[in-house]
Amino acid sequence: MVTSMMVFSMSINADQKNYIKFKDKHLSQGREVWLNTCESCHGYGIAGAPVPMHASDWLVRVKKPKSILYDHAINGFYGPDDTMMPERGGNPALTNIEVISAVDYMVALANYYIQLKRK
């Protein structure tokens, strides 16, 4: 009845090796938090989440005061196009310190790819 004759797939985006490891301990901790909570959307641009590997997504954001990014990540945020960032990335178990470390990692990752594009 059912015959599968051809199967192939197409990747959209993310790859673990693109998530650069930084030597800084705080950023290492942030990477772990980011991988466990934030990556599932920010790694792929799901629901409009800015992807740190895409320099154009973060050029404006990295210039904002970190306090604004922390506030958006901790308390949630509605963007100008009615995009929605959930509180603590939808993981209420995260502490403020853990969220902040994830934001710092994502900004560092974005800056890495922004610099890479400029070279």
Partner: protein, 201 residues
């Protein structure tokens, strides 16, 4: 009067142009296939996903969450509320199925399915649907494409991930009395959009 004349002339010109457009659209050249089934499926999914995204952002996120003027509910009629984005998507697919029955050349279908459906009717039925939904759940960021034969007809079937993007998507599924899975997290693939396009007899 002169103004009316101008409007009438304008309307006549518009009708004439529309008439030419209809004549061109009826040309045999425009009936020849120019894109692949995969490109067609990707284009259809782009439209579906964009429409759903705009409904989620500009209607649900804005009115329910930001401005707090109305609720969105699974029981939208009883609750006098907005339909959920997934319900809007499903209603669209049902209407397309009904209207496409009368259009032999446009006889494609699409549906929202899941390996963990709240409504059992939305579970995968064919081998390709089962394999595809499993594949997109295990390979985040990837689509699944296959050719399958059903009832003697050959179809191109494409399956795209449907991801839980808001706390309410995840919490509703996790808490629903009929759900077979209660540990979804935001960003998890919760199901898939299955698009099926006939590939000739």
């Amino acid at each position: 009067m002169k103004h009316i004349d101008k409007v009438l002339i304008g309307a006549s010109v518009a009708i004439s142009i529309a008439g030419i457009g209809t004549a061109i659209a009826g040309n045999e050249e425009f009936d020849k296939p120019t894109i692949s089934a995969k490109t067609m499926a990707d284009a259809l999914h782009l439209v579906m996903d964009s429409d759903r995204t705009i409904y989620t952002r500009k209607i649900v996120n804005r009115l329910v969450k930001k401005d707090k003027v109305i609720k969105a509910s699974e029981h939208f009629e009883d609750d006098k509320a907005l339909v959920l984005p997934a319900q809007m998507f499903r209603f669209g697919s049902e209407l397309v199925a009904k209207r496409a029955e009368k259009l032999a050349d446009v006889n494609f279908s699409y549906s929202l399915q899941s390996l963990w459906p709240i409504n059992k009717q939305n579970a995968p039925k064919t081998d390709v649907e089962k394999a595809g939904l499993k594949y997109i759940a295990e390979n985040k960021g990837k689509n699944y494409y296959a050719k399958e034969t059903l009832g003697g007809k050959t179809y191109f079937t494409a399956i795209y991930a449907d991801t839980g993007v808001a706390p309410v998507c995840v919490s509703c599924h996790n808490k629903h009395k009929d759900t077979p899975k209660r540990d979804f997290k935001i960003g998890d693939v919760m199901g898939g959009v299955v698009i099926r396009i006939p590939m000739g007899s």
